[in-house]
Subunit: 211 residues, 2 copies
DNA sequence: ATATAAACTTACATTCGTTAGTTTATATGT
DNA sequence: ACATATAAACTAACGAATGTAAGTTTATAT
């Protein structure tokens, strides 16, 4: 907004972070990555539009960096939530639930960011495999936790954990996505819906709460 | 594309349908409603861009009409599928499943259209309540079928059908949306996933197939 | 003092929604 | 059969926004 003071000799890289932050702020405010025009980003940071090119080769590169950072943030939020659940004595089930709830909160509080991560054909030049790879760690973590849960359930020991992880992912995403995109419907608490779906899919025996 | 022959006196309205169809075709090809520029639509139909204004007051009105038509198509597809299931002797459960499968096919075969219906903040000036109202009939129908199913299950007779409908909607949408937006992942058959989720949520006793 | 990193100004070529005014074909009245 | 009113479409153009290229200025570290 205001004129930005010039960075020192070696610290031109500081601006890179500010540009990234501005792009992320714009997406959050507008609810969509289309709001990221180089001119809008530049104005937000307080620089001239072409100065962005000193730090990103083109607009797609900027959006790709945003995507990466947002995935990192979501992964960090999930990990923290899981660790809190574990620290409180929670087992695999409680950790899985905590991670899912963290995603729900992320999605509902920052719908523009969530849509970019999971509803995005955002970066035109970006091969989808790359975008999919960003989210892969979450998928693996969920499948691992589910495997752990299944091991405590003799009658389902050889269920396919990967498949159950997919079902839970789909259910969680469905709740978040619908609530974001149809906000005027009367929605029950999203976390309750997600927990219902997770219980229905997994049926954890020792879930700590009700059977 | 080629020069279009002029419509007769009273039949200017024919062009309206062609414009609608062109917009729908563009969305299908590009996978997003951003592809609907008045110039692109006009070229597709074979007219000049401003001629669109004879039939739609502005771009948003065109997109709104597209939205309406696509919802109508989806509703029709669902109804046909349900009727086929009923004609084959299927009960409420089989009809519910057939409707869900029809939506899955619609979504995977026409991802751009599906995204417009369920992931769209498409029409900037369109109040969301209106867009939500377009999809309302499906929601009501699903809840009705679920109520019917629950009535055949004494032990769950007073479960909340509206809530179960929401869970199934979310699950179905989640499967479709994720498969659309992360197409490079290895996806099991989408209908199988949806059926798993529906069974997990409803646990129909007499589902006709396995318990 | 000077080399250079950091950022600027200017501008080009597209694309877009939309407005204004104009042309052309068709149906109708005589 | 012919003139005419009008529906149906056209051409031209404006103003705004966009990604990006080219060349220039300015502050800082050596």
């Amino acid at each position: 907004m205001t004129k930005r003071q010039r960075n020192a000799r070696g610290e031109g890289g500081q601006l890179r972070q500010d540009i990234l932050g501005a792009a992320i702020a714009l997406i959050d405010r507008a609810g969509s990555s289309e709001a990221v025009s180089l001119r809008a980003v530049a104005k937000e940071v307080g620089i001239a539009a072409p100065s962005v090119y000193a730090h990103f080769p083109d607009r797609d590169a900027l959006l790709l960096a945003v995507l990466q950072q947002l995935f990192d943030e979501l992964i960090a939020l999930r990990s923290e939530a899981e660790e809190r659940a574990a620290a409180a004595g929670g087992g695999a089930w409680q950790q899985l639930r905590a991670g899912a709830f963290a995603t729900v909160h992320f999605g509902l509080q920052r719908p523009g960011h969530y849509k970019m991560l999971y509803e995005g054909r955002v970066v035109s030049g970006l091969s989808d495999p790359m975008a999919a790879a960003f989210g892969r760690p979450i998928q693996l973590r969920v499948a691992g936790l589910i495997r752990e849960i299944l091991e405590g359930m003799p009658e389902r020991e050889n269920d396919d954990a990967e498949r159950l992880a997919l079902l839970i992912w789909a259910g969680t995403h469905g709740v978040i996505s619908l609530q974001i995109n149809k906000p005027t419907l009367r929605w029950p608490k999203a976390t309750d819906l997600v927990e219902d779906l997770m219980r229905a899919v997994i049926r954890p025996a020792n879930s700590g709460v009700s059977p």
